[in-house]
């Protein structure tokens, strides 16, 4: 068996956490809380390690003798400035918060705006990419809910039939969503169990 110690730790920690989840005995629940706290801490440390790795990758790109990536330099500088400011001034400082609200927010929000255009273009080309009646239903449904979402029809709310019809149509997606969510839950269950059974060992690198 590969990585027996790690496998034992994964199974042990997982089983204890799981038991603490379903059996509300003080010993188990406190053990579960403790393990979750450790996991959150380790996730934080892993985040820092991965950030260092991200920087090293871009440093390599920047200093490569061929195909040198100039944009990587911008990444490293941006990181350096933000990190230094954050460490010195602390995250709550207005200047550090301005970095988020005046640099990160505009960029993210603009990317989201670009997504609106990309998705519209994708929707237009849907039938060019793939036919089939599922695509047709998807397009019809998207069209109907775009109209509903625009609030255009709510101007005709005084028509009782329309009101009931809209209510019925609005509840239709719930059925499919439930089916998908339950299916995803089943998949999550079996995937998680493979880790707890030790058949999946992604940590055995």
């Amino acid at each position: 068996m590969r990585a027996p110690l790690s496998t034992a730790i994964a199974i042990g920690a997982g089983v204890l956490t799981l038991l603490g989840f379903f059996i509300p005995i003080e010993a188990l629940t406190s053990m579960r809380s403790l393990l979750i706290e450790w996991a959150v801490l380790l996730a934080g440390v892993a985040g820092l390690v991965a950030i260092v790795h991200l920087l090293s990758v871009h440093w390599r790109k920047m200093t490569a003798s061929h195909n040198r990536s100039v944009t990587s330099a911008f990444l490293l500088i941006a990181f350096g400035v933000t990190f230094a400011a954050g460490m010195v001034l602390k995250p709550g400082h207005p200047t550090v918060q301005k970095i988020v609200t005046h640099i990160q927010v505009p960029i993210e929000a603009s990317l989201m705006g670009v997504l609106a255009i990309s998705l519209t273009a994708a929707a237009i080309r849907l039938f060019q990419r793939r036919g089939g009646w599922m695509s047709v239903l998807f397009a019809v449904s998207a069209f109907v809910f775009l109209i509903l979402g625009s609030g255009f029809l709510s101007s005709f709310a005084n028509i009782p039939v329309l009101k009931n019809l809209l209510a019925a149509v609005n509840s239709l997606p719930v059925a499919g969503a439930r089916g998908i969510l339950i299916g995803v839950a089943l998949g999550s269950l079996t995937t998680g169990l493979r880790v707890l059974l030790g058949t999946d060992r992604p940590y055995s690198g």
Binding site: L186, L193, Y203
Partner: protein, 250 residues
């Protein structure tokens, strides 16, 4: 004090675990079980093979789910698929790269690549630079993915994990670069966005079938069979519960 839901929950967990173990053992004697065709996975196999033949790269991205989030199984399924893809394409001059939007996932993807190359007796192929964190927030993760989608000679993108709808930007960039893209997410908004923008969208639970359809370990097939068993169990409970509720018994 133990609640009924707690007992039921444990019961479901033990049932599923037992089923996976038994089906895995049975499978050893009876070979690979039959599954319905999912065209997207067939196309993925072809695409990986052609990436190997053409000396181009396969890119696997695992999403942004933290390991401490309840949506991490999608990433675990992605990791299993990554391991399989790394094995298959280890003959390529351009080994696959893995990207993710969470630190823990990044380290696991590096471990997975390492394990995959060791299993094909080519540990020297392992380069930690191919298991990358592209961004720490959901949108910066996507921003970091765009250069990979448009450069680095990637001919095949496999997106399996937890994404937001913004992943459609990557699918679009991949299509502009004439690359194959298979996308699967456990997030409903992302599935909707990908249905319109990805070449091969995978819907819902099919995400967890990726490793089994890529002919990974026997346990993956067993867990798919277990999903089927639990599915019909849930259906029976839904119908029975509805009838009992209507009769006022439940």
């Amino acid at each position: 004090m133990i609640t009924i839901l707690g007992v039921l929950g444990l019961g479901v967990v033990f049932l599923a675990a037992g089923s996976i173990i038994i089906l895995r053992m049975i499978g050893k004697d009876h070979g690979q079980p039959a599954f319905r065709k999912i065209a997207a996975f067939d196309d993925l196999k072809k695409s990986i093979g052609l990436a190997v033949e053409n000396g181009t790269r396969t890119h696997v991205t695992l999403g942004k789910a933290s390991l401490t989030q309840s949506s991490n199984p999608s990433a675990l399924a992605g990791l299993a698929a990554l391991e399989r893809i790394a094995r298959i394409s280890s003959t390529s001059d351009r080994p696959p790269i893995a990207s993710s939007g969470d630190g823990g996932l990044t380290l696991l993807s590096q471990d997975m690549l390492h394990a995959a190359y060791r299993s094909v007796h080519a540990p020297e192929l392992y380069d930690p630079g191919r298991g990358r964190l592209t961004g720490i927030t959901p949108m910066s993760y996507i921003a970091g993915l765009l250069p990979i989608a448009t450069g680095e000679d990637v001919s095949s993108h496999v997106m399996i994990g937890n994404f937001g709808p913004e992943i459609a930007l990557v699918a679009e960039a991949a299509e502009n670069a004439n690359a194959f893209s298979l996308a699967a997410s456990d997030s409903l908004p992302a599935q909707a966005a990908l249905f319109a923008s990805a070449q091969e969208p995978i819907i819902g639970e099919e995400l967890f079938a990726a490793p089994a359809y890529l002919e990974a370990e026997r346990s993956h097939a067993a867990s798919l069979q277990t999903q089927d068993i639990l599915r019909w169990g849930v259906i029976v409970v839904l119908i029975g519960g509805a009838i009992l509720k209507m009769m006022g018994i439940l």
